[in-house]
Subunit: 251 residues, 2 copies
DNA sequence: GTCAATGGTTTGTCCTGACATATTTTGTCA
DNA sequence: TGACAAAATATGTCAGGACAAACCATTGAC
């Protein structure tokens, strides 16, 4: 906008054509940086595609692909006949598939996990159905208690089919379940979650250090990998006083 | 796969080049139909892009765009050097931005809404901040009680900035809030939600026909339109015994 | 018999060029 | 001055070609 038309002020051409990183992605990353650093102010219109492509020395399809990438991520809005605008940076990330372990790591709290149960056994019918495996097929069944600092936060039950991953107790003590799944090549890509609430039973209350009847958040989830294979079933209980789900949605 | 190599069995070439509907979209829709009707079985590999493009009489970029569209929707998976596969139809839809009203309509229950409060007033500071409007700016403030059949289901509080939509009580009695927003051209596109749980106070319990101390699901949300303008703030209470959130996530 | 090289298949990236369409601005005429 | 028409500007769509990179299976050597 307020730049010279001759393009003299463009020293930051950091595109590397020998790099294995796709050009369109390099362009998109560069644009994203400029937006996040306020170089391109929120609400302002970008230069048009053709000029941008010219200035960066890429073709228009490549430029369009970079812009499309940011449009999909909710960072830019395009209007035909008008131009491309930077939207409010408040909502950026779409819903991500993460685990509680990841969430805690991100927020800087040290997660600790106590494994209370660990066995291979036939899956209960309800879980077998959720996983889409034959009734009676064997799964690794886990009960874990997760702490944030010294306080218990969640009581988690998981079932992992044996042909997906042969779990070991010591791995689970060091890593989150999702890390292990990813490491085994079964990257969770889709999941169906149901979030509800109920009150704690006496046993649950004791384990979670809550009063009996305290409100708990419940979450049951089935996760699939890219090929559509079910990789995990989970049924978790969270202390409502210490935890809530945050979701960023895009339509 | 089991089709003749000469391509004799392709009577359904229904592409219309004079139509204003983009070619790639026509191709994608056609593919989607064939997948949903089982014409192209789940798990099977598609023909390669070049052949498909040839057979349909479109260029490879157009074919790729059609396939990409379905990949983004989670219907297909591409692997370089391997091919394109139809994924399990169980998880298809990404997270959608809906309201409780829509949810109830879909599940076939008749929703009814009782408006308990309706006024224009300055936004409380916390809500003004969530909406990104100046402190003290006026909003339409609503308290509604939603029923499924005869039973109360949720107690909902909403705030809508005046410059987004001038609400009328009678509109709200007939339509969901999101329909009204969409009708006014402020299509909600992004939202940030926090889902938690707590126990009902005496007053809330009375309104929702629950016992005091019953578990409630809480949800607070801010929604923005495509331009990044905040269009709605909501703080809702659901009876945990009657309602839960279902989410489909994709990474 | 096992492991490494090789070649074919398929998707991924990038280019040039052209035309279509929506929107806003400008210009002209009544 | 007002309304309508034309032009300028921007994104949207589509074609055709070229090369790169990943994957798989087969072949070959040890």
């Amino acid at each position: 906008m307020d730049r010279q038309a001759n393009g003299a002020l463009v020293p930051d051409v950091t595109l590397d054509r020998t790099s294995p990183v796709p050009l369109y992605y390099q362009v998109a990353t560069r644009l994203q940086q400029q937006i996040e650093e306020g170089d391109i102010p929120v609400g302002s219109r970008l230069e048009n595609e053709v000029e941008l492509a010219d200035r960066l020395g890429v073709s228009r399809p490549t430029m369009r692909r970079a812009i499309s990438y940011l449009v999909e991520r909710g960072m830019l809005v395009r209007k035909r006949g008008v131009g491309t605008q930077v939207v409010h940076p408040k909502v950026r990330r779409p819903v991500e598939l993460t685990s509680l372990y990841d969430d805690l790591l991100k927020s800087g709290q040290a997660p600790r996990t106590e494994i209370r149960e660990f066995e291979v056994r036939p899956a209960p019918d309800q879980i077998a159905e959720a996983l889409g495996i034959p009734f009676g097929a064997e799964v690794t069944w886990i009960e874990r208690l997760r702490f944030a600092g010294d306080e218990p936060l969640a009581l988690m039950h998981n079932a992992v089919p044996l042909d997906v991953l042969r779990l070991h107790r010591e791995d689970l003590e060091r890593n989150g379940l999702y890390d292990l799944l990813r490491g085994a090549g079964h990257v969770p890509r889709m999941a169906n979650q149901v979030v509800g609430a109920r009150t704690a039973s006496a046993g649950e209350a004791r384990i979670l250090d809550e009063a009996r009847g305290a409100p708990l958040l419940t979450m049951t989830r089935t996760a699939w990998d890219a090929a559509g294979k079910a990789v995990e079933y989970g049924s978790h209980l969270y202390r409502a006083s210490r935890y809530s789900f945050e979701l960023n949605l895009t339509s």
